[in-house]
């Protein structure tokens, strides 16, 4: 049956557009247009303005984790000598790239690739990365470019040791953008399309508007939004914010949440099923998404806050490169401790959370580094208890379900005692 966005649910839109993005990349390959692999918070505006199809390795790796097939890709990376201490998104993707590369070189799919449950995506013709969330993304993308002998666009974003963002930082980043534009003109052999660029920027703003709107539903008590859903819908704010796919899906989702609330239906159904509200800090444990969700649900704990989805709150003025520079540099993990703690506290406040669950993610030193201080700050300011647990986003070897459940149960008992 023909897909009809007007009648489809947001969930159907999510699945449809995710698949469509991969298909479009294959189609671009077929037509001789370019495919770019991109870091999740690198600006897609430039490439999309130049009609380049985008693939997002972090989302692809997360998907592999959720489908429980990241281990075989990690093993490929380990076989190439990548150390287990490296971010598991990087390892999963470098493993996957290796399989695609072998296929391209030999013309034959390896058994691992043929049997992989990970979505099948084409190799890139260029990559774009940005160090606004970590520096792993630099070396990872440089490796991709070197292994595949393709261009690498790097948007270098200085860390914000003080806030607000310094003017010279914005100017520096705007210059990085100009260099990227120039690089793209060389790669494509065409003049940069500034008109389309403006349209894409406007689209990103509409996508971000609806993404933020969806998140606001978790501020209602009880919450019609199950915060874990954001982990799934996030795929589109990452991969399709420069397209109308994200906007259509989130708008629909917001309408659904509004209707749910009006009908007295909440995250866990009846209002009394929401016993506690927690804020989750850190990336999802993709390989145990169900287990981490159920561990909370069994206790009646709804996730109403999370700093992570807010990374894509990329508001700026279209047509203004420095404003766009500011948006991409002030993501909370690219800012100093005090700013980061304050941001985190505001998330907890808006989410009206009674407890914090801190994912100490073995992969992501950048996200985990300041977990403890952030939690302590919020605890001091708002008196909200917290627990932290060890896990990993896509490496299934770190997380222990029993350890997790004990911590969650203890947190809920602390929240109960605070009532």
């Amino acid at each position: 049956m023909e897909f009809n966005p007007a009648t489809a649910s947001s969930k159907e839109c999510l699945a449809y557009y995710q698949a469509k993005l991969d298909e479009e990349a294959w189609q671009a390959k077929k037509e001789g247009r370019l495919v770019c692999w991109s870091a999740s918070v690198a600006p897609p505006e430039f490439c999309v303005a130049m009609d380049i199809a985008m693939i997002y390795p972090e989302t692809h790796a997360a998907g592999a984790g959720a489908k429980k097939c990241s281990q075989e890709l990690l093993d490929v990376a380990h076989g190439k000598g990548y150390n287990i201490d490296i971010c598991s998104y990087a390892r999963t993707n470098l493993g996957y790239m290796e399989l695609l590369k072998q296929e391209a070189l030999t013309g034959a799919k390896s058994e691992t690739l043929a049997n992989s449950k990970a979505s099948y995506v084409p190799l890139p013709d260029l990559v774009i990365t940005c160090n606004n969330i970590c520096n792993t993304l630099l070396k990872w993308y440089e490796n991709l470019a070197k292994e595949l002998n393709i261009p690498c666009i790097i948007i270098d974003v200085p860390f914000n040791h003080t806030m607000p963002v310094q003017r010279h930082n914005k100017e520096y980043i705007a210059d990085q953008y100009r260099a990227a534009i120039h690089q793209l003109e060389e790669v494509t052999g065409r003049a940069f399309d500034y008109d389309k660029f403006l349209k894409v920027q406007e689209q990103v703003q509409r996508s971000v508007y609806w993404w933020n709107k969806v998140a606001t539903y978790a501020g209602r008590v009880p919450s019609p939004l199950n915060g874990f859903d954001l982990f799934n819908y996030m795929a589109l704010i990452v991969c399709a914010r420069a397209r109308d796919y994200a906007e259509i899906t989130f708008h629909k989702f917001a309408d659904e949440l509004e209707a749910k609330d009006a009908a007295g239906q909440y995250a866990f159904g009846a209002p009394e099923n929401e016993k506690y509200r927690i804020t989750w800090e850190g990336i999802a444990v993709w390989t145990y998404l169900g287990a981490t969700f159920k561990g909370l649900k069994n206790q009646g704990a709804v996730m109403t806050g999370s700093a992570y989805p807010g990374i894509w709150n990329l508001q700026y003025t279209p047509g203004d490169l420095e404003s766009m520079a500011e948006a991409y540099t002030k993501v909370y993990i690219n800012t100093c401790g005090p700013n980061r703690y304050e941001d985190f506290m505001n998330i907890v406040k808006n989410a009206k959370s009674d407890g914090l669950v801190m994912h100490l993610n073995r992969s992501c030193k950048q996200m985990g580094l300041l977990n403890q201080e952030g939690a302590e700050y919020v605890n001091k300011m708002l008196g909200v208890p917290f627990v932290s647990f060890d896990g990993d986003q896509t490496d299934p070897n770190v997380f222990s379900q029993a350890q997790y459940e004990t911590r969650i149960q203890a947190l809920c008992e602390m929240m109960e005692a605070n009532k």
Binding site: P385, S388, D390, S400, Q403, Q409, A410, E413, M414, A417
Partner: protein, 262 residues
């Protein structure tokens, strides 16, 4: 008389305790094997023995510990963090810091003035610095767990056992033995290794609050307690019958739940 039952099924041992009217301990039992073994069944027989009571006489049962979800007699499951806190605060109202070292976990809990839990930290994913580490070492050193304390206090010097990994630490101990390092010195070194790791958890709870109370099976080892005191630089009170404080807390919470029901 209303009886409540607390059952603490850990990774290494099974504990149970019967309480009368939420204050008097009728009986308690500990079997030194934990979840997935005959321990849970045996501890139930043991705790009822000579009491003239049976399961029908129990008004409410709370299960805790790693194996809490497999206890079919339980009316409710509560985490061992809350149970230990409850049990210890009941026994020692001055307790503000609790250190529980069991078979595969070590935890530090900070209590408020009402016995409420302010903060807790547990070891994760790695069992170094827990009872299992000591069990392995006691086997290699051929010193029964019961005698580890005596040996510890005979040490002339504490040997260095630096590996975090239990398997590597075992080889470290073996090579020290073959180098003629006195076993007592190695025992003290092993205790220090456990203490250092647990101490880090305690420090994460913020500035050390007195009174510091230790419980869990490892608190039965005076050598481990001594090493903990030295690592923390503070006096430690060992809870009476330290291995069953989780079961006591569970029985107390069972009493509270029973009263709420009425």
């Amino acid at each position: 008389m209303v009886y409540t039952l607390g059952i603490d099924i850990g990774s290494s041992s099974s504990k149970a305790l019967i309480l009368a009217d939420g204050k008097d301990i009728v009986s308690s039992a500990a079997i030194q094997v934990g979840t997935g073994t005959s321990g849970p069944g045996r501890v139930m027989e043991e705790v009822f023995r000579d009491t003239g009571l049976s399961l029908e006489d129990i008004a409410f049962t709370v299960a805790t510990g790693y194996g809490r979800f497999s206890v079919k007699e339980a009316d409710k499951q509560i985490s061992e963090i809350t149970c230990h806190a409850k049990g210890i605060f009941h026994l020692i109202p001055g307790a503000r810091t609790i250190i529980d070292i069991g078979g595969q976990d070590a935890k530090a809990i900070r209590l408020g003035d009402n016995g409420n839990i302010l903060q807790f930290y547990m070891n994760d994913k790695c069992a170094a610095g827990t009872g299992r580490f000591l069990d392995v070492m006691s086997r290699v050193l051929e010193i029964p767990l019961d005698n580890m304390g005596d040996a510890h206090f005979k040490a002339t010097e504490w040997a260095a056992v630096s590996s975090t990994c239990t398997v590597f630490a075992e080889s470290e101990v073996i090579s020290q033995l073959s180098n003629g390092v006195p076993r007592e010195n190695i025992v003290a070194g092993v205790h220090k290794s456990v203490a250092t790791k647990t101490c880090a958890l305690v420090r994460r709870c913020g500035e050390l609050q007195q009174e510091v109370v230790m419980c869990g099976g490892v608190a039965k080892n005076p050598g481990a307690v001594d090493a903990m005191e030295k690592a923390l630089g503070a006096k430690i009170t060992v809870a009476p019958n330290p291995q069953i404080t989780g079961a006591l807390g569970a029985a107390l919470l069972a009493w509270e739940a029973y009263q709420k029901q009425q």
